[in-house]
C-alpha cells in the first residue's frame, strides 16, 4: 500500500503544479474550479499510464486529493508576486488619476496605504488552509473522473487461458 501511495506522489505533484499555476496566473484563472478538476484528471492519467493494473475510483480520489493540496500550495506561492504587482499598479493608477481628477474620495490615501500593506502571515496561512481543503475536495472529484476515463486496462486473453486481472468494483451503470 505504501509503495502505491509513493507511486501517486509524482503524478499528484505534476497535476497539482499545473493546476496551481493556471489558477494563480491572471487572465487564465477565469476557468475557476475547472483547473483544479483538470489538474486532478491529469494526475489520474499519469498514474494510470504508469500502472499495470486498472485504477480504482479510490485510487483516483486519493491522487486527486494529493493533487488538490499541491495545487493550493503552488497557487498560494505563485499568486504572491501577482498580488504585489496588482497593488503597485492600482497605487500608480490612483496617483496619476488624482492629478487630473478634481474630486477624489476623501481618505483615499489612507485606503491605499492600508490596501498596499503586505499580507500578514496569519491571513496567508488561513487562506492556504481553506484553499487546501476546498481544492482537495475538487481534486478528489477530478481524480475519480480521471480514473474512470483513463484508468481501465484491457484484459489480456491468451489462447486457452483467460487472464483474470483485478476489475474495478465500481461497475458501469446506465
Amino acid at each position: 500500500m505504501s509503495n502505491q501511495r509513493q507511486g501517486m506522489l509524482r503524478p499528484a505533484l505534476v497535476g497539482g503544479a499545473v493546476a496551481g499555476v493556471l489558477t494563480a496566473v491572471p487572465l487564465v484563472n477565469c476557468l475557476c474550479c475547472l483547473w483544479i478538476i483538470g489538474g486532478a484528471m491529469l494526475a489520474s492519467y499519469l498514474l494510470a499510464k504508469n500502472s499495470v493494473v486498472s485504477l480504482t475510483s479510490g485510487d483516483g480520489a486519493i491522487v486527486g486529493i494529493f493533487a488538490g493540496i499541491m495545487a493550493a500550495v503552488v497557487d498560494a506561492v505563485v499568486s504572491l508576486p501577482f498580488q504585489a504587482l496588482n497593488r503597485q499598479f492600482i497605487q500608480k493608477f490612483m496617483e496619476q488619476f488624482s492629478q487630473f481628477a478634481e474630486d477624489m474620495p476623501s481618505g483615499w490615501e489612507k485606503w491605499m496605504e492600508r490596501g498596499t500593506g503586505g499580507m500578514s502571515m496569519a491571513w496567508f496561512l488561513l487562506g492556504l488552509v481553506v484553499s487546501a481543503v476546498v481544492f482537495a475536495g475538487l481534486g478528489a472529484l477530478g481524480g475519480v473522473i480521471g480514473a474512470s476515463l483513463f484508468g481501465k486496462k484491457k484484459t489480456l486473453q491468451v489462447q486457452g487461458v483467460k487472464d483474470e486481472t483485478p476489475q474495478d468494483p465500481g461497475d458501469r451503470q446506465p
Binding site: C32, S57, G60, A61, G64, P169, G170, R172, Q173
Partner: protein, 170 residues
C-alpha cells in the same frame, strides 16, 4: 429481498450533502452580509476567491449585491445538489457504480464548448446559459465523488488496496 444499506456510503453521502448545503448557503450569505455592511462579508467572499473569479458582471445578484461565485460556478454547485438528490433515488446506499463514459461526455459537452468559446473570445454567453451548462454538468458529479470517496473509505476499512464491499452490480 431487501438490500442492506452500506453505512460507509450513507455516512459519506450525508457529509457530502451537509457540506453542499453549507457551501450553497454561504454563497448567498456573502451578499446578505455585504448588504448589511457586515465586517465579515470580506471573509466569506474570500473563501470562494480561490475557486472563482467573482466578476460581478458574470454573477447573479442577491439583495443588490453579487453572489460569492459567478453564474457558471453557481450552476455547478446547484447541479451538484440536484445530483445528490438523484443519487439517492438512482443508486441508494447499497452499491457503488460509476456513470457510463458516454453520459459524462454528453453532459460535459455544453459546458466545455461554452467555456472554450468564451475563453477564446468567440462568443459571449449570458449568465443564464452559463448557469444552465453548469447545472447540467454539476448534476453528474456526485456520482463520481461519492463513489470514489466511499471506495477509498471502504478500502481503508478493509486494510488492503482493494475494496471488497459492496459487491459489483451487473
Amino acid at each position: 429481498m431487501p438490500r442492506r444499506v452500506n453505512k460507509t456510503i450513507l455516512l459519506i453521502y450525508s457529509f457530502t450533502a451537509i457540506g453542499t448545503v453549507a457551501w450553497l448557503g454561504a454563497i448567498f450569505w456573502a451578499p446578505y452580509l455585504r448588504s448589511h455592511s457586515s465586517p465579515w462579508q470580506g471573509l466569506v467572499y474570500a473563501i470562494f476567491s480561490p475557486v472563482c473569479h467573482q466578476i460581478p458582471s458574470r454573477s447573479f445578484h442577491f439583495l443588490g449585491q453579487p453572489l460569492a461565485v459567478c453564474a457558471r460556478c453557481l450552476g455547478i454547485y446547484s447541479g451538484f445538489f440536484i445530483g445528490l438528490a438523484l443519487y439517492f433515488f438512482l443508486r441508494g446506499f447499497c452499491r457503488l457504480a460509476l456513470p457510463q463514459t458516454k453520459i459524462f461526455i454528453l453532459v460535459s459537452f455544453p459546458i466545455v464548448t461554452d467555456t472554450l468559446g468564451n475563453f477564446a473570445r468567440l462568443w459571449e454567453t449570458s449568465n443564464k446559459l452559463r448557469f444552465a451548462t453548469g447545472l447540467l454538468w454539476g448534476a453528474i458529479l456526485p456520482f463520481y465523488f461519492i463513489t470514489g470517496v466511499a471506495e477509498l473509505a471502504l478500502s481503508r476499512k478493509k486494510g488492503d488496496g482493494s475494496p471488497r464491499e459492496p459487491s459489483p452490480q451487473k
